[in-house]
């Protein structure tokens, strides 16, 4: 099994709206509770992490959102600025050249530059060794990868660049980044999905493209918002039987039967989708239960962090392959 908490760089990817930001924050929170010093990185996003922690808005400089847990939101513009000043060693030169309107236009068409400076910032933080006693600045970095239209494109950028040029600063930078993201001793890529048809299809597709085009070590498939069963098989049959004989009249009974059918159908569908993940992806899974609460609040986040801790330690110590089963067994 992959020791998630033993990695230094955790990259979470998945399509938009599946809960990447929440689950990234939850993994970070779980690690921070273990005493690790953690940096959460949102890249080029409409920053959402602050809403989870109820903190002030998060920007380029790290904000401590919980004990040991820091967060940043990095835009290409800021990352480029930091990187350029580092390279040029002169702020005035940076301003004169890079903040010129024409040069900005020009920079926009340099292939992969935006993505590269974002990944470069991740690399920079990963390499920083100014922690106590010369230790790394961060024990763990959790990256909430941008949800682009094309899967892991973001991570392919170093390869795109080394394909275009064979030398120079961008080439060197790309090589360093590639070495980091391909190193299975420190890096892991998790695929996050909702248990619905489209996200599941895309996750299967994502794994295929990842394996074909990248050497990034894959970690867990994290299935988000999994309904816990409410009804046994017998109860489910009863609901179906009663519903067949009841008028759709909007009465209490009618509405409750509808709610029960909704739950059963969704539980059943999710079970089929998870079986598909089992069958088609050879990856360990984490199942995050559906919480019937507001999505973006700290209490929910905290529960998710506990659940991740529970499922991961369960796996690391005892290796039981089954996801946790809720009290009501069978049925839906």
């Amino acid at each position: 099994m992959i020791d998630l908490f033993g990695k230094r760089l955790i990259i979470n990817t998945g399509k938009g709206g599946v809960g990447k930001t929440t689950l990234s924050a939850a993994i970070g929170l779980a690690a921070a509770r273990r005493g690790k010093r953690v940096l959460l990185m949102e890249l080029n996003a409409k920053e959402k992490t602050s809403r989870l922690f109820g903190s002030s808005p998060i920007g380029f400089e790290p904000t401590e959102v919980e004990d040991n847990l820091f967060a940043v939101n990095i835009t290409p513009k800021e990352a480029l600025r930091e990187y350029a000043i580092l390279k040029l060693r002169l702020k005035t030169l940076y301003r004169a050249v890079f903040e010129n309107r024409f040069v900005r236009t020009f920079l926009r068409v340099i292939p992969g530059l935006n993505e590269l400076v974002l990944l470069g910032k991740v690399w920079f933080e990963e390499q920083a060794n100014d922690g106590p006693g010369g230790r790394p600045r961060w024990d763990m970095i959790v990256v909430d990868a941008p949800a682009t239209g094309h899967g892991v494109f973001f991570l392919q950028i170093p390869a795109v660049i080394t394909n275009i040029v064979s030398s120079g600063p961008m080439f060197d930078e790309a090589r360093q980044i590639q070495a980091m993201i391909e190193d299975s001793s420190r890096t892991v890529l998790n695929l996050i999905t909702l248990v619905e048809e489209m996200p599941i299809n895309e996750t299967i597709e994502l794994k295929r493209t990842t394996e074909e085009t990248l050497q990034v070590p894959l970690g867990y498939v994290i299935a988000n918002a999994v309904y816990e069963p409410m009804f046994s098989d017998r109860q489910r049959d009863l609901v179906t039987a009663v519903r067949a004989e009841t008028d759709s009249d909007g009465s209490h009974l009618d509405r409750l039967l509808e709610a029960a059918t909704f739950r059963s159908n969704r539980v059943q569908l999710q079970r089929e989708y998870i079986e598909r993940l089992d069958r088609e992806l050879d990856l360990p899974q984490i199942h995050i239960p559906y919480y019937f609460t507001e999505r973006f609040n700290f209490m929910t986040l905290s529960k998710i962090a506990d659940e991740i801790e529970r499922q991961l330690t369960g796996r690391v110590d005892e290796d039981p392959p089954d996801p946790p089963q809720p009290a009501a067994s069978g049925g839906g």
Partner: protein
């Protein structure tokens, strides 16, 4: 206070665009809007960027590609409806679309070949921020101009920054027309100086600084590539302005698709503001996956639970191996209440979010909702069911 229905709104429009954050159901919504207009008698094309097979499946065609395909009438017949118009669909292949732009605008076949084979080209045509959106817009415009369809519905790609695709044509035009780029690929411009105001730095100095940063090889590659692309750039500005003019006209209408999640709704509001800022006709919000309330506002009391068991007991049940015991029914009744209570929390949260959206968006903005179905929509029948909800047609049922 008059709120128009989605049906009123799309009537007479020639372009409908669905925008919104990722994962909110833009593709399905686009297909449903197109289906509706086809049912009402128009010849409609739904233009999707979603490479997933699902839309093709639910429309009943084996696959969608860069060519327009008509949805067979048997599809309609199978679900017992008859369209007065025609429904067509196509999937926008980003790379192929950009290839077309090159082929159409660069006259010399050798030059076309040189561009398509350049190693920067595949990055440019598929991955450079804005190019995909530009391709989509240009294709939309081309189809619109052809006059082959009464209505084109466009499903937009998810963008990191809302409405990138709106700016894409003008940003592309601005970029290629700017002296910054021209200086790279047009020798006559290269002789000049940058507009650096006080500094008035020469281009060679800028170039030197940039190459310290990107490497000279990258700049050379870029120079060669942009030079080969330059015939394409000539008409860019004009086309971009034409596209923009159509999108801003009364021929077009934009819907913002969202889920009832507060953060997604915030993003949807942001989209709306951007559309207003840009004077783009905004049609309203389409909110997918809204949880239905299953309980009365005050919940159900103890008495209701036993009444429930009695009512279930009174139902004649066939096809069960063993008839239910009274205890069993009471336990089931309680379980059903627990279940509905959980969903009630979601229904309440969704209702709050929708109320806030209504207040903030203003009384004249149309907000149409589609319930969260107990099964995913992946058939033609499913699309039609969403249509019944979205257009509030008779026969719509909250959760069949």
């Amino acid at each position: 206070m008059t709120r128009k229905t989605i049906g009123d709104l799309i009537e007479g429009r020639r372009i409908v665009v669905c925008v919104g954050s990722g994962g909110v159901g833009k593709t399905t919504t686009s297909a449903v809007l197109a289906l509706h207009a086809a049912m009402e008698g128009r010849k409609v094309l739904v233009l999707t960027i979603d490479p997933a097979r699902r839309l093709a499946n639910s429309l009943g065609v084996s696959e969608l590609d860069n060519d327009e395909r008509q949805i067979p009438l048997e599809q309609f017949a199978q679900i017992g409806v008859e369209p007065k118009g025609e429904l067509w669909a196509m999937m926008l292949d980003m790379k192929r679309s950009f290839d077309r732009i090159v082929e159409r605008n660069v006259k010399d076949p050798k030059a076309v070949e040189r561009i398509l084979n350049n190693k920067l080209y595949s990055y440019f045509s598929t991955s450079l921020a804005g190019t995909q959106e530009y391709s989509a817009m240009e294709r939309l415009y081309e189809l619109h101009r052809s006059g082959d369809y009464d209505l084109i519905v466009l499903d937009t790609p998810p963008t990191i920054h809302a409405l990138d695709f709106l700016d894409a044509p003008s940003r592309m035009a601005e970029a290629v027309e700017s002296s910054a780029l021209q200086w790279l690929y047009k020798p006559s411009v290269a002789a000049g100086k940058f507009g650096f105001g006080l500094f008035n730095i020469g281009t060679s100095y800028v170039l030197k600084t940039l190459s310290r940063f990107t490497g000279g090889e990258m700049l050379d590659e870029l120079r060669v590539f942009l030079k080969s692309l330059s015939p394409l750039f000539d008409g860019f500005g004009d086309r971009a302005r034409q596209i923009r003019a159509v999108l801003g006209s009364q021929d077009a209408l934009f819907f913002v698709v969202t889920s009832p999640d507060p953060i997604t709704v915030d993003e949807a509001r942001f989209f709306q503001n951007r559309l207003d800022d840009e004077s783009i006709p905004f049609g309203g919000f389409i909110v997918n996956r809204v949880h239905a309330p299953y309980l009365p506002p005050d919940g159900l009391d103890e008495a209701s639970s036993s009444e429930l068991a009695d009512r279930m007991d009174a139902v004649q049940l066939d096809g069960l191996d063993a008839p239910p015991e009274p205890d069993e029914l009471r336990a089931l009744g309680q379980r059903m209440i627990d279940n509905a209570t959980e969903f009630q929390i979601l229904a309440t949260l969704d209702a709050q979010t929708l109320r806030a959206l209504r207040e903030r968006a203003g009384s004249r903005v149309t907000i149409a909702t589609v319930p969260f179905f107990s099964r995913d929509i992946h058939s033609f029948e499913g699309l039609n069911r969403v249509r019944q909800e979205l257009f509030a047609l008779p026969g719509s049922t909250p959760n069949p």
